[in-house]
């Protein structure tokens, strides 16, 4: 928390040093502040913050790639695959170990990644009901979510 305040403070100071402050300058300042926190992490005890920010950025890139892949798949299924060939199905995904915030992030991201869409959650917040557009193999879909989204989200929330 202290590291985040420091980072924003450096960004604002950088913004005040400019004659014509723009939005880009704020991001440049934030990046410079992050660099400082990275260099002085033994003194400022900001190692955890640095790790989380890097993990979050990696996750954003990974998610953007998954999102593009989802759209390519959607275009392929819409235009080039006959409707009878689709195998839509429901799937139960286990989220029992996660906090509410992580479940929220996961379900939002699941709605945007290839072939899956969040439908419902069980009352005790332990199972997500997903709908899969083309599902020949449910285990492969679960493994895919485990390896990309779940791992990426847990890397920066914990």
């Amino acid at each position: 928390m202290r590291s985040l305040v420091l980072n924003v403070l450096v960004a604002v100071i950088w913004l005040l040093l400019q004659t014509q402050p723009t939005l880009l300058d704020f991001f440049v300042g934030a990046a410079l502040g992050f660099l400082l926190l990275f260099l002085f992490r033994p003194v400022l005890h900001s190692g955890d913050y640095v790790r989380r920010v890097i993990a979050a950025n990696v996750f954003v890139l990974l998610f953007a790639w998954e999102f593009l892949r989802a759209c390519v798949q959607l275009i392929r299924l819409t235009l080039f695959v006959p409707v009878d060939r689709l195998r839509p199905d429901f799937l139960i995904y286990d989220v029992s170990g996660l906090t509410r915030l992580e479940i929220l992030l996961l379900s939002h991201c699941v709605s945007l990644t290839p072939g899956t869409c969040t439908v419902d959650i069980s009352h005790d917040f332990s199972r997500l009901y997903l709908h899969v557009l083309d599902c020949p193999d449910p285990a492969a879909v679960r493994r895919d979510i485990d390896n990309t989204l779940r791992r990426g989200i847990l890397a920066f929330t914990r």
Binding site: L23, F67, L68, A70, C71, L74, I75, L77, T78, L79, V83, D84, L86, R87, P88, D89, S107, H108, S111, L112, G115, C117, T118, V119, D120, Y129, H131, L133
Partner: protein, 101 residues
Amino acid sequence: MNLYQEQISVGIMILGALLVLIAMIGIVRFPDVFCRAHALGKGLTLGLMILLFGIWLDPKTEVSGLKVIAAIFFQFVTLPVASHLIARLSYEKNLPRARRR
């Protein structure tokens, strides 16, 4: 840079419009409500994001950067929720769905 900026922005906007069109074709073509929610959630989100990005690049439109970024952000946050709500409502109402063959 400035010479081709307008052409580039128009090209990007056409790309976004095409994606929205494909999402709409998907909504008409897919067999049941859940599959249609897929087309809505993914195709429309990326389509509108690309469209707004094209507007941002257009030199003739007077919009500041932050406004378009906010618009893109809210599209990104709200559209998947809309598709989830449609899917959830039809799940609760037990609407007919295409079975696995």
